[in-house]
Subunit: 496 residues, 2 copies
Amino acid sequence: MRLIDEIRLDKTNTKYLYLQLFDELKKLIESNNIKPHTKLPTIRYLADKLNVNSSTIVNAYNQLEAKGYIYKKIGSGTFVQDVSSKEVKELILDEETNMNMDNLRLDVDANNDEKIINFASTAPMPDLFPIDDFKIVLNEVLDRDKGRAFMYQESQGYLALRKAICNYLISFNINTSESNIHIISGAQQGIDILSKALIEYGNVVFTENPTYTGAIAVFKSRSARIVEIPINKDGIDLIDLEYKLRSFKPKFIYVMPNFQNPTGYSYTITKMKKLIELADKYNFYIIEDDYISDLNSIAQPRNTLKSLDTVDKVIYIKSFSKIFMPGLRLAFMIIPKTIYNEVISAKHISDISTSSLIQRAFHLYLEKKIWQKHIEQVNTIYTKRYNTIIKSIKKHMPKQIKYILPQGGLNFWFSLPSGYSANELYKLCYKYQITIAPGSLFDVWQRDTRHFRLSIASIHNDEIDTGIAKLGQIIAYFLKNNQKDPIAVDLYNNLF
Amino acid sequence: MRLIDEIRLDKTNTKYLYLQLFDELKKLIESNNIKPHTKLPTIRYLADKLNVNSSTIVNAYNQLEAKGYIYKKIGSGTFVQDVSSKEVKELILDEETNMNMDNLRLDVDANNDEKIINFASTAPMPDLFPIDDFKIVLNEVLDRDKGRAFMYQESQGYLALRKAICNYLISFNINTSESNIHIISGAQQGIDILSKALIEYGNVVFTENPTYTGAIAVFKSRSARIVEIPINKDGIDLIDLEYKLRSFKPKFIYVMPNFQNPTGYSYTITKMKKLIELADKYNFYIIEDDYISDLNSIAQPRNTLKSLDTVDKVIYIKSFSKIFMPGLRLAFMIIPKTIYNEVISAKHISDISTSSLIQRAFHLYLEKKIWQKHIEQVNTIYTKRYNTIIKSIKKHMPKQIKYILPQGGLNFWFSLPSGYSANELYKLCYKYQITIAPGSLFDVWQRDTRHFRLSIASIHNDEIDTGIAKLGQIIAYFLKNNQKDPIAVDLYNNLF
């Protein structure tokens, strides 16, 4: 703390005071003069000390957080980030898109990328995309609608598509009307729009932890205060949730109740119902990101929160990316009537409307039932991979590695013994041409953890067993030769 | 003020205090118990009076502003909105897309929409869209790239398209590299992304007034404080600008230097250079929204701020919507190197990436020079309409109506005599099946004004003269029979 006390700001300088403070703190952190996970002084303390307005401190801290130098834990304070893992953080944004996953190699040097076995990416492989079918519907739309296919579409979305989606939802026990459906340019945009519509400066938002950090980045960009709730094998930790509901008034909670990303866990129906009860009792919305419930390798049909929602508190987001074609940028939301106006305005200021052509083509695709055919094909392929990896995991994974196998989806979540660093394991795997997704990519605070995710989205069935066998060997070697790292974090309350 | 002093908040109620206050103030405003344009008490005064935290007042005021009940004028305070014009405001968002322009009828009842002459919309008519050409390039991409056309694209945009855009820009005297080009899903998204990247809570942003209120809505959604600078016939009022630069430190100024929307005015090259000098001197960015400089009915080529930018302070946004096909949702930005990282992150959290298929198709469209051919065709058509309307305006517009004719573009801006309400004129016109765009749609504070805009984007050449003749008659009648409304606002410092 002494070094911070020595900071002086120059009020005669034309440079903003908060930027001066930002630079000073950045220097101290980068030079390791303030150690990782050190608690920073409170805003009031530092404002008094430096004789500046508290907003100067707030702005400097926000900037430092945005750049990955510090992290905030609500109720606990502000802490210095471990900047040695900063490169990992900078790549988090790319994780879902797999654009630069190979940059994650950090200080590892690897020469031949071509043989890499990719258990890290969740992006589907293009050989699964129904290009020929989609080309037919695209051309049909162009011939039928001509210029109208390129006019602005209503911000809420193409009416015929909204109706077709309502019909499609009936088989999922979701009964809603087209007036509640909103078409968006992908699930990520849905999260962004909802944040615009619902979050004001300083509002509290709850999320599962670990979770999809593309959502966290949006909440932070709206200056929300994020409160994490741990997830267990049967869904979110309701005791922790209700405890925190007594202290905070969240605008919403962001959850993935089916095949949660990254854990693959699913909520029991009892937990789903209880969560909705709590939303009603404590008056908050639930954002249900249903990115993948269609992919159900074990036969019983999945429930969704929305199908159980009798109080109109669930905001349902469904993307077509993960099981269809990510580059389409198409998804939809079901929106409670209470927030209709806010959502329409937020969509409008975001990009006015989603591509009219793509909406019209996808409408035909749904209407002609080509979609169903596609889902069945994809499910067959993924189920095969699912069965293969389950068998391989049981066969090759060292016994010190703990896991709970999901009933479907694309993701599998593992825990190293206490104290081992998944970031370090990642580096070792990369050296041997295997990519895994370390838990830091899914932690709300991007801390290094002892957990990692494997995905079967970007890997061919015949690579799986070889890949897992090799991974098993690498892990065995890793556990033997790596010292425990006391910083690696547990994301659970005693799950194992 | 007495009524406000009577407000009491119930701290034992589970309802948020700020929502209680919001409801109380809303009631007072809706019931007309607080008159339009009344100044509200300061945050500190009300916080003391109600014995609550100042953030309660801030949140309530923000909410009231978002819902259109109040408006803030920086440096002056917070004022009650004229809620009788609230319906007009609610339709502002639809103005650019022309989706619900006909809802703007307010209390006017009209039966037969079909014969409406539309001078209000700036959306191009679908009969100008090059559907057949675009269909060819779309199919070429599908055959060539197959599944790759539907994978995630890099957040920055498809590299080949970025390169083609650099080549295209050379003829506009803009020399830049593909690493500075960012592909976005329309200009509106560009404004949204820049706001995410640059605006923090409470930052100041400068804009022209009148302006494109789709931009204002974004700045407000990021809780920016907006300072308006009047625009004159030769560009922004530099004296006013520099005066305000001494009091405020804006993050950026948002401008349309060519054929400004709604006025049609263009900056002189001297003003352009001076603006860039000021940006350098006072250290702020300039967002140049170049929505239409290609449409140049009077032959001399247009300058852009970006082509004159030697200090890398200009952020250039170019949409293809207004002159191509709005439903494509495609635009690009040129980004100063200093904000590269912020912009990439903001794009990523907004929608990950813009449609890969559309980017690839548009790349071929540019590469094969079909784009040039299209621009030339469109320019011929618009120039014809431009010449027609200029002639009609001179012939039919009552002499009390003031205007300065632009050298190109699609928009023409008129002023009623002092004190007359353009909202009222709008209603009268609508009754006679003509739509115009009243100035309130472009005012930063959505106030009723004495100005209105006519556009030639959505009207056929052969309707123009009849339309303007009829409009001239309506205006003559209006001026004779309508009392002056002292509330209607002047958007200029003595332009006429």
